[in-house]
């Protein structure tokens, strides 16, 4: 990292704090987006409304994973699960806009994000042979041509978001060495190096990267949520033994390093060393964290660290804000989506497609 890019990062962060890019949600979400599967043989990119009724349901060539939204221009991207070789971009009615195929010698890692002006789509990717992480850059304003790539700052870039008024990408480098010939297998558990990297879109370099202490190197930083004041919430998966008392959620704000959330033992254990997804509510103050392994979700007021809600359900993983503060939609790999209101703990199952489908790891909302 050069001094210049670090200054730019810090300046950008300060500007962002003054002018937080918060989603302007004020009403219940109109639409939820997620990937689903039937019997692990058929796969779909789907959208449903606030009642759970299907808005679109498009077949995918293989299992989907993450979602990127571009509300201003009415586009949504679905990314293949890693190691993936496709992404599809559709409009909000599900009409096809573009299909991406992984560039030669690279695979998609399951997540991406549009630039603030909608001109670019960034995708997390891995160089197959070396395992190095890169961010692919696609011309989202036009023909979705691949314009190039930049280093992600580590192995296994996974979730990615836009911060700093659109000037920076924040990337969770999971730190795992993988290969498409051994899907799901972690090949470097003895030498993991996970990081949270901020990439300056001006210089296309890593402006700054944050890491956990060395004794926590088997924690993989994987999923992100951006809250009020551009609080970056990082939820993690631990590759070490189940009994180790490791933190699973960290927050990063401004120029500060990662600060691990100190959860009570019962809450920490309920996540079973594995956070599957995370989202802030519409206020940007309450973080929802799911664990399909624990069959549990926690809802944390990030300012105080107080756990203000809990949820249980087998294989719950996808989570997205509903438009009303304190409300979340949570989806399950065993089927169904529930709306949860933090505070009174009221839960309401959605119907339609939402109810009768098995949902993959992530959910997004508009």
């Amino acid at each position: 990292m050069t001094a210049l890019t670090r200054r730019a990062f810090l300046a950008g962060s300060a500007a962002a704090l003054a002018n937080p890019m918060l989603p302007a949600f004020s009403a219940p979400a109109r639409a939820f987006y997620g990937a689903r599967f039937e019997g692990m043989s058929r796969f779909f990119a789907s959208a449903f409304d606030a009642t759970g009724t299907a808005m679109f349901d498009l077949p995918l060539p293989a299992r989907g994973h993450g979602i990127a939204l571009d509300p201003a221009r009415g586009r949504v991207a679905f990314f293949a699960r890693r190691p993936g070789d496709f992404a599809i971009i559709v409009d909000l009615a599900g009409a096809p806009v573009a299909t991406l195929t992984a560039a030669g010698g690279r695979f998609f890692c399951g997540h991406g994000v549009f630039s603030a002006d909608g001109a670019l789509l960034f995708t997390t990717e891995t160089v197959t042979e070396s395992g190095d992480g890169v961010i692919g850059v696609y011309a989202a304003g036009g023909d979705y041509e691949r314009l190039g790539e930049m280093p992600s700052g580590g192995l296994d870039p996974h979730d990615i978001r836009l911060v700093g008024g659109g000037q920076f990408l924040v990337v969770a480098n999971g730190g795992l060495l993988t290969h498409p010939d051994a899907p799901g297998v972690k090949l470097n558990l003895d030498s993991m190096d996970s990081s949270l990297a901020f990439l300056d879109l001006g210089t296309r370099e890593v402006a700054v990267a944050f890491r956990l202490p060395a004794d926590l190197r088997q924690l993989s930083l994987r999923h992100l949520a951006i809250g009020t004041g551009e609080t970056v919430a990082v939820v993690m998966q631990y590759e070490g033994p189940r009994g180790d008392p490791v933190p699973l959620v960290a927050l990063q704000q401004g120029r500060n390093p990662l600060a691990c959330l100190d959860l009570a033992d019962t809450d920490r254990v309920s996540l079973r060393q594995y956070c599957g997804s995370a989202a802030f509510d519409a206020s940007g103050k309450i973080l929802g964290v799911t664990s399909p392994v624990g069959g549990s979700a926690l809802f944390v007021e990030t300012a105080s660290g107080r756990v203000s809600g809990r949820m249980e359900g087998p294989d719950i993983c996808g989570i997205a804000a509903d438009g009303v503060s304190g409300r979340f939609a949570v989806s399950s790999g065993l089927g169904g989506v529930r709306l949860l209101r933090i505070g009174n703990g009221a839960e309401e199952p959605l119907g339609g497609l939402a109810a009768r489908s098995q949902w993959d790891n992530h959910l997004a909302s508009l």
């Binding site: 010939d181 297998v185 090949l187 558990l189 003895d190 392994v293 294989d315 065993l334 993959d360």
Partner: protein
């Protein structure tokens, strides 16, 4: 030990009366049966087979020759067989200290074992072979895949018996033998011995225990069952097969050098079937009252194992052979169907629903 655990499990169950406790009692009895009939004897066998590597490596390296090499290869195959019998139990003692990867770093799509082994041999650093340094060094070269290369690579015997690398290669064999034997002994001890024996941990669930409920321990055993099939369907057969005859990737077989790839797949499935029949099948039939599914899963195991046995040549050749390939494809398809059956039907029938988000991770 066996009886004590069963009695402990039953005693825990009868002290409370809620439906949940009744479930936990049934799960605890199931766990105890699986651990005592299947997990512990298999850990014993692995420890024993691994320990046999040490005298065989010592004897061969003291007096190199064809007879000693054959004896060491027999010991290697014994350890590899026993490893296939426990490789699916990836929780508890096995998840500590990266033991799975240290015993068998596989899959290895980048041939890291081969590359790092060559580096270490070229460096000839004796200090790296002391037991402690070796166990804390590179995980890729500590186990059976590195030993397989030293024993079976082209020209392996000649390189072990003469030339500038011979002494170091033999010392590596001995280091690997000691290391695998040590891990095997540790696994056996940690499963069986003392108040913290993992067999006891699995039986002593409670709010502040490692397992909050007995069903959480059952879940670990279920995942082991699933792993025994998944690793065959997705990796051991699926990856060498590739998508077509022309796309076959024989280099992704697990143990081509020693000709064990197909045998490993068969042993994995047989270990899964044995775990299933050590108590899960009876639980499904008698406690979960689902005899149809109990029979279906047993038949699916038998069919898939029979499929593997019909493959008429080594896996790496079969996937490239127009006539033999179909048998591998059938075995892979049936293994894949069995995997789905376990995830989609068995886990809910047992009352421990496991989803693909939890199973697959990402």
């Amino acid at each position: 030990m066996i009886r004590a655990l069963v009695i402990a499990a039953i005693a825990l169950g009868v002290t409370t009366s809620s439906a949940k406790a009744t479930d936990d009692q049934a799960f605890a009895a199931l766990n105890a049966a699986l651990v005592e009939r299947d997990v512990l004897p298999r850990m014993d066998r692995f420890a024993e087979a691994a320990s046999a590597l040490v005298p065989a490596a010592d004897a061969y390296c003291t007096a190199p020759g064809a007879a000693g090499l054959d004896a060491l290869k027999r010991a290697y195959n014994g350890a590899a067989d026993a490893w296939q019998g426990v490789q699916h139990f990836r929780f508890g003692p096995m998840e500590l200290l990266l033991r799975t990867q240290r015993i068998a770093f596989w899959p290895d799509p980048r041939n890291t074992v081969g590359r790092q082994l060559a580096e270490v041999i070229a460096a000839k650093d004796s200090a790296a072979l002391t037991p402690q340094a070796f166990a804390q060094g590179r995980i890729t070269i500590q186990g059976l895949p590195a030993m397989e290369r030293l024993l079976y690579d082209d020209g392996a015997a000649a390189k072990l018996e003469s030339g500038p690398e011979a002494a170091y290669r033999c010392e590596m064999l001995r280091a690997i033998a000691r290391n695998v034997a040590g891990i095997g002994a540790d696994l056996k001890r940690e499963w069986r011995d003392g108040p913290k024996a993992y067999a006891r941990v699995m039986a002593s669930y409670g709010p502040d225990a490692h397992y909050r409920t007995a069903s959480e321990a059952t879940l670990d055993l279920f995942k082991s069952l699933y792993t025994s099939v998944e690793i065959v369907a997705d990796h051991k057969l699926g990856k060498p097969l590739g998508s077509s005859l022309t796309d076959a990737k024989p280099g992704l077989g697990e143990s081509a050098r020693s000709g064990r790839s197909l045998r490993n797949a068969q042993l994995d499935l047989e270990a899964g079937a044995a775990l299933y029949r050590a108590g899960i099948e009876a639980y499904l039939r008698d406690t979960a009252k689902n005899p149809a599914l109990a029979t279906q899963i047993g038949q699916a195991f038998d069919k898939t194992i029979a499929d593997v046995k019909t493959v008429s040549m080594p896996l790496e050749a079969a996937v490239r052979d127009p006539s033999a390939r179909a048998a591998v494809e059938k075995a892979q398809r049936d293994a894949s169907a069995l995997k789905t059956l376990l995830a989609q039907k068995l886990s809910p029938a047992l009352g421990i629903p496991v989803g693909f988000n939890a199973l697959d991770g990402d």
